[in-house]
Amino acid sequence: MNGPHDMGGMQCYGPVEPEENEPVFHDDWEKRALAMTVGMGFAGKWNLDISRFARESLPYDFYLTKSYYQIWIAGLQKLMLERGMVTANELETGKLEVPGVEVKRVVSAEEMPAALAAGAPVSRDAMLEPGFSIGERVRALNINPKGHTRLPRYVRGKVGEIVGVHGCHVFPDSNSKGEGENPEWLYSVSFDAQELFGMETEEGNTVMVDCWGSYLEHA
């Protein structure tokens, strides 16, 4: 979806404002927001790509004006509401109205360090040979899907060069719809900054974008 999250190349947001000695969290609720978002991932009711799409498809003005952990909380509530795991009334009042649904896994405190350290790799065994090879010129497709995609707008239609082959990774565009992992070869594509942003941009800079095979065509 061409949404507010796809920010690459926008010029309207002002300067970057790094905070000196920034704490990991700015308030206690942020700690719980992080922990709940990570913790609920283990419930197995959605995957990484579904949760990313839940956040990026929040109302555009909400996405653009709220802090990141506010977006995470809103995304989590949305995912749970969609799946009947909570009701809107429960979120409002905090009073339990319906019992919880069955979840895949509830990680205990004892199990959590190992669960975090294990992570969740998205690499999968290759079923096919890669369609592109290092050094090859490719064009990013001009696609505008209504669902989730990880091909940013600023590279669509642009020509770059394959500089890395990362193996087969879960394909977000289908995984985000619950339509399966459909792993595809993932490539590191180097784009010349002037190809992306025109001749006024500084010469010699490059932007590397990780692209799945079905985002690309031979150029």
């Binding site: 796809d6 990026e56 509830v106």
Partner: protein
């Protein structure tokens, strides 16, 4: 600074003198507490396990991990070679693995080429080596401008590269996570890895900073 600015600042103002309406912050506190009590009552999460998640990212997983990797890369040619070939494995050798670090790649700065990492689409960041991302990394100004005017963004961090040092920006659009290996500062011959690690800042591993010089830590 106004609240309407796209998640560009630390947002709570606790450590800042921004005039800021804090009422929405206590609203968040209530909203998050309500949500957590529901998740616990419904049996979706173990609150003690959530405490472990917070503790992990507040005290255990942070940029000192990455600094140890960089210091070893500077000191040990064999280790650097291992990082180039299989960064995920080489980093795990030092005990750093897990969420948002499942697929690691290093990118090495040289006199000719400076690397900088962004996620234009959300907030992808190598948690296993750097911890949770700072607010600016997740903010609209950084996410939008890093790809189109990296040199101007660097200047907002006080980094001024020679004009003939060209910039490569890595947009983390997939699950590959990038760790910048900054240039080793002059005057550090014979330094131990522990001492070298003191020169390695978080920002130098994102590419929005340089490693500190020996003078900067002695003062």
């Amino acid at each position: 600074m106004s609240d309407s600015k796209p998640n560009s600042h630390n947002h709570d103002g606790h450590s800042h003198d921004h005039h800021h309406d804090h009422s929405h912050w206590s609203d968040m506190d209530l909203k998050v507490k309500t949500l957590e009590s529901l998740l616990v009552e419904k049996g979706y999460v173990d609150p003690a396990a959530l405490d472990v998640i917070v503790e992990t990212y507040e005290t255990k997983v942070g940029p000192r991990n990455g600094a140890a990797v960089v210091a070893k890369a500077w000191s040990d040619e064999n280790y650097l070679e291992h990082l180039r070939e299989n960064a995920t494995e080489a980093i795990a050798e030092l005990g750093f693995s897990g969420r948002q670090g499942e697929h690691m790649q290093i990118v090495e700065n040289t006199a000719d080429r400076h690397n900088m990492v962004v996620c234009t689409l959300c907030s992808c960041y190598p948690w296993s080596v750097l911890g949770l991302p700072p607010v600016w990394y997740k903010s609209a100004p950084y996410r939008s401008r890093a790809v189109i005017e990296p040199r101007a963004v660097l200047s907002e961090f006080g980094v001024k590269l020679p004009q003939d040092t060209k910039i490569t920006v890595w947009d983390s659009t997939a699950e590959m996570r990038y760790l910048v290996i900054p240039q080793r500062p002059e005057g550090t011959q014979g330094w131990s890895e522990i001492k070298l690690a003191e020169l390695v800042t978080r920002d130098s591993m994102i590419g929005t900073g340089l490693a500190l010089s020996p003078d900067e830590i002695s003062s």
